[in-house]
């Protein structure tokens, strides 16, 4: 007797006889008959050749682990990489909660059946709103760059204008996303992206250049604090006033882990606030941990322009009880297709739950301690690195967790230095020399709460050794 293929652990109806039983019930002689809609000449002609099946968990796990072990990671090595993904401490409770199968496998449900998830989502919005001092927060979109892109499109719809001012010293990765969202010049909806110069002595926005470029055609000014290269923007309130005077929206990007020590953007005039969610308890995940938030004041002119899910608290049929659901949802592409606000779909909502847990664990004092620890350790790193011969900090003492290190005085390129560091178990900062030639051989280093003083001394000492 020929042996039947074994049932697959992920397919209940692959057990012997089940498929045949269902075929009998529907009166079909064969599986092929059930596919009667597909014309014969539509079936693929090329044979399907895939790598061999690893049906046993044993073999699958072995292959997964063997592959992943070919990576080096930032736990075994000492990493100073940031620039859009940052190494922060992830509390174990966050990992437990986002690993809960109910949160991992749910799809939508109803407002009642998946009430717990909806409450967690709303608590993300609420706690982030407390950090930002803003009343409306949307569930996160795909990334910070996507959040900025949507925010700029919101501003263009609100103002009816089609130009956005952005810092010349923008992260090229985020700026590329923004340009995609702003559409090419051939499109009728194109939003012109115009850069504003940086003050070469501080890296901050050049207010004179900003004022010169602000005009009745500007929909929004977008800037970040801390900025891409780490600088805390001291003129933020002034930028917002200038934008408002010109009838433009002020869109800001902020790092949420800085908000225990930096003023809340809702308090100094930001209209639409964006930022990354990855620092709020999400692992770097090789860049797959990113998400971006959008927030604003609770005014209809903003609320009616959001693209995604705005979770609102609402009463239930039981007096005194509260549930959750989606506010102003008809404007999404689910409800309005091509007439909706941009589009929405699957996003990064699991990271909203991570963020909710993370913010509740830290509380007001945790955020204050975290911000103080990061800025102190990052400034300490600046001092130690600057003491290495030939190494210079480009804008010392203006930054939060990231800062620009220049190596021109060493006679070595960033690439050479990072290669030598990597051979010693250290990942140096992101090489800026190709994207910002004016800064010479410079790198963007990131120091957070995960870097102890001893780690920083090791980095400085190793740098000194390899530059000798």
């Amino acid at each position: 007797m020929a042996s039947r293929p074994r049932a697959h652990p992920w397919m209940a109806n692959s057990a012997p006889g089940v498929l045949e039983g269902m075929l009998a019930e529907i009166g079909a002689a064969s599986v092929a008959e059930v596919f009667e809609q597909i014309p014969a000449d539509h079936y693929r002609k090329a044979p399907l050749v895939l790598p061999p099946q690893l049906a046993s968990e044993l073999e699958l796990r072995r292959e997964l682990v063997a592959r992943l072990r070919r990576n080096e990671d930032c736990e075994r090595n000492l990493s100073f990489l940031g620039a859009g993904v940052w190494q922060h401490h992830v509390p174990a409770v966050v990992d437990e909660i986002v690993g809960r199968t109910e949160f991992l496998t749910n799809v939508w449900g109803s407002y009642q059946s998946d009430h717990g998830r909806n409450q967690a989502w709303w608590e993300f919005q609420s706690q982030l709103g407390a950090l930002l001092n803003l009343d409306v927060v949307q569930l996160p979109v795909y990334s910070w760059g996507c959040a900025a892109g949507h925010a700029i499109r919101m501003a263009a719809r609100i103002t009816g204008r089609r130009k956005v001012l952005v810092p010349a010293l923008s992260d090229p990765e985020r700026l590329s996303v923004i340009r995609t969202y702003c559409e090419p010049p051939e499109m009728a909806g194109h939003i012109a992206v115009v850069t504003v110069a940086a003050d070469p002595t501080s890296g901050r926005l050049d207010l004179a250049d900003l004022r010169a470029k602000l005009g009745p055609d500007v929909a929004a000014v977008y800037f970040e604090t801390p900025a891409y290269l780490g600088t805390i923007e001291l003129g933020a309130a002034e930028i917002a006033r200038a934008a408002r005077a010109a009838g433009a929206e002020t869109i800001v990007g902020v790092d949420p882990v800085s908000l225990g020590v930096l003023a809340a953007p809702g308090d100094w005039g930001a209209d639409i606030v964006t930022g990354p969610v990855q620092p709020l308890g999400v692992h770097m995940n090789c860049g797959g941990g990113v998400g971006g938030f959008i927030a604003s004041r609770d005014e209809e002119r903003y609320v009616r322009q959001y693209n995604g899910f705005l979770v609102s608290i609402a009463p239930t049929a039981e007096p005194g009880q509260w549930g959750f659901g989606l506010a102003s949802s008809h404007q999404t592409s689910y409800g309005a297709r091509e007439h909706g606000r941009d589009w929405t779909g699957n996003s990064t909502y699991l990271w909203a739950i991570a963020g909710a847990v993370y913010m509740s664990l830290l509380g007001p004092e945790g955020f204050r301690e975290l911000g103080n620890l990061i800025v102190a350790r990052a400034r300490y790193a600046q001092r130690l690195l600057a003491a290495v011969p030939g190494v210079r900090i480009v804008w010392p003492d203006t930054t939060f967790k990231e800062f620009v290190v220049n190596f021109d005085g060493t006679g070595r390129s960033v690439a050479e230095i990072n290669d030598a560091l990597r051979a010693r178990g250290i990942f140096g900062g992101k090489d800026l020399s190709a994207e910002l030639p004016a800064l010479g051989q410079s790198a963007l280093w990131c120091v957070t709460e995960v870097h102890s003083a001893a780690d920083i001394r090791r980095a400085a000492q190793t740098l000194k050794e390899i530059l000798q």
């Binding site: 292959e63 990576n71 009642q112 059946s113 795909y142 003023a263 090789c286 609102s312 509380g363 300490y380």
Partner: protein, 518 residues
């Protein structure tokens, strides 16, 4: 018929997290800067003008209280802990082996800007998975940057812009043609990318006619975006003629392979004439949905379109993997970095665990199981298949209508969805907009759920249909066994009452909140 199972969801009456705790309680401590750090950098590192002066209004709770609170919330989430035949989303088992592997530091603690020499493991997986998707689709190159199926549709629109701009025709090719039955993300992303959208209506066979497509495409068409089969389970047998008609007009044509489960291993998008396609890895390829992401829309295209892909692309050179950023014709970034890499790893694990034989069997099972379900649902009075005049067997899902039952009893699809959860069954998927049939619902059995699960699901539908006749009020006021009672939606479109944050809640509902929310 199987009797529906008695079920009651957890009901913790859980307070809002902002209502928990006590002043000064702590859930995470951070060390003070080391003495040598403090000495070197001094005080006042944040200029007073930008320093935070207020205390953010966050909860003050212990580590255990945070854990307990969010565990309670997870327990009040049905997820797919019951039976979820949520159509259009292809509910699958999400492998814990793959999940735990992705949580290892060799992936979780990896930075995308590490030197490629330190990323060979993950790059080898991405490269092999690209090859797997090429084999399944016939396309020449895949990228994983898009954060979901909709974002992959947006990627298509961005690639089309770059393709036509490179030919100097973007000013002329301004239109995207699709079906009214296509997923809303197709028209929405094309519109957000700047294209004018033309929606073709369905005709008597359940899909737009070839003549309608031929009349719609022309020198202004940039792109056609279409799914097949559609969400009603109808396969357009003229799809080869569609791709020819698009190409005859000079246009690109994109296969939204959201409904791949019934045809995987059987069809090749390339052989059918498509220029590009997308797969949802959080759906067809077994990665978890996580309530709406992180997700991946894997986008693949022909060599002709590949120069316009968002960078980077994973390449292999003599057994060494690298990231190609030097793509001068690229459409630009869709999203930062290279995509939700852990989800790609989980999808690769799914494809490896299934193999070609498992993938073909899964498509067999999903289509047979849907037809079995169709047969059983047809025995319940008051239910009607969409396009009931079309007698052919449907694909892996079928759009159904409760129209007759609603007319008879006043009980509709939303009432059903609410009531199903009382039996431990996940509320069903109704339909994307626009609703083409009244009171729609769309079950999809896939390859995960057993025949017994399907029978149990149908028994619940039959029970609720009976309740609709015998005690309609019970269904209309459902659910009764859930974490909360029916949510009253009037506030959701009322600016005076909606509240997206605790701050807004206190401002608008302070008095009610003081009486004790949640």
């Amino acid at each position: 018929m199987t009797a529906p199972r008695e079920f009651h969801a957890a009901r913790w009456n859980e307070p809002l997290v902002m209502q928990l705790g006590r002043p000064g309680a702590r859930g995470q401590l951070f060390p003070a800067p080391e003495p040598e750090v403090a000495e070197a950098v001094g005080e006042g590192l944040i200029p007073a003008a930008v320093a935070r002066k207020d205390r953010p209004q966050l909860p003050e709770i212990t580590e255990f209280e945070a854990q307990r609170h969010y565990l309670h919330l997870s327990q009040m989430t049905l997820g797919m802990m019951g039976i979820s035949l949520f159509g259009t989303c292809t509910m699958k088992y999400n492998s814990k082996t793959a999940e735990y592997a992705a949580q290892r530091p060799e992936l979780a603690e990896v930075h995308p800007y590490q030197h490629p020499d330190t990323l060979q493991g993950v790059l080898s997986i991405l490269h092999e998975f690209d090859q797997i998707l090429r084999a399944l689709s016939g396309m020449d190159q895949f990228v994983f940057q898009a954060g979901g199926g909709a974002d992959a549709a947006y990627t298509m629109a961005a690639v089309a812009r770059a393709y036509w701009a490179d030919r100097g025709q973007l000013g002329q090719r301004t239109e995207m043609v699709t079906s009214i039955q296509a997923h809303p993300c197709n028209p929405a992303t094309a519109a957000a990318a700047g294209f004018r959208v033309i929606n073709l209506p369905l005709e008597e066979k359940g899909y737009p006619s070839l003549q309608a497509l031929q009349a719609a495409v022309g020198p202004n068409t940039a792109l056609v975006m279409i799914n097949n089969p559609d969400d009603m389970g109808i396969y357009n047998p003229e799809i080869r003629e569609w791709t020819k008609a698009a190409h005859a007009a000079g246009a690109l044509i994109f296969y939204d392979h959201a409904n791949f489960n019934g045809v995987m291993g059987k069809l090749s998008a390339r052989e059918l004439g498509f220029d590009a396609c997308m797969f949802m890895l959080h759906k067809t390829f077994g990665a978890p949905k996580a309530g709406g992401g992180p997700a991946v829309g894997a986008y693949g295209c022909t060599a002709e379109l590949a120069p316009y892909l968002p960078a980077p692309v994973v390449l292999e050179r003599a057994g060494h993997y690298l990231l190609d950023h030097d793509r001068p014709k690229s459409c630009g970034k869709i999203r930062e970095f290279w995509g939700n890499v852990p989800q790609v790893v989980k999808a690769w694990a799914w494809a490896r665990a299934m193999g070609a034989e498992g993938i073909r069997l899964a498509s067999d099972i999903s289509v047979v199981a849907n037809n079995y379900m169709d047969r059983k649902l047809a025995e319940i009075p008051g239910l009607q298949r969409s396009h009931d005049n079309i007698a052919v067997r449907r694909m892996e899902m079928t759009r159904w209508s409760l129209g007759p039952l609603k007319e008879e009893t006043g009980v509709g699809t939303v009432d059903f969805a609410n009531r199903m959860a009382d039996y431990g069954i996940d509320p069903w998927w109704m339909s994307h907009e626009p609703w083409i049939v009244p009171e729609p619902f769309t079950p999809e059995a896939g390859e995960l759920w057993s025949k017994e699960d399907i029978d149990a699901w149908i028994a619940v539908v039959a029970r609720i249909a009976r309740e609709a006749r015998e005690c309609p009020e019970k269904v209309r006021t459902a659910p009764h066994n859930q974490p909360v009672a029916q949510v009253k939606g009037e506030v959701f479109d009322d600016p005076a009452r909606w509240a997206m944050t605790w701050r807004a809640f206190l401002r608008k509902h302070g008095a009610e909140a003081a009486r004790g929310a949640a």
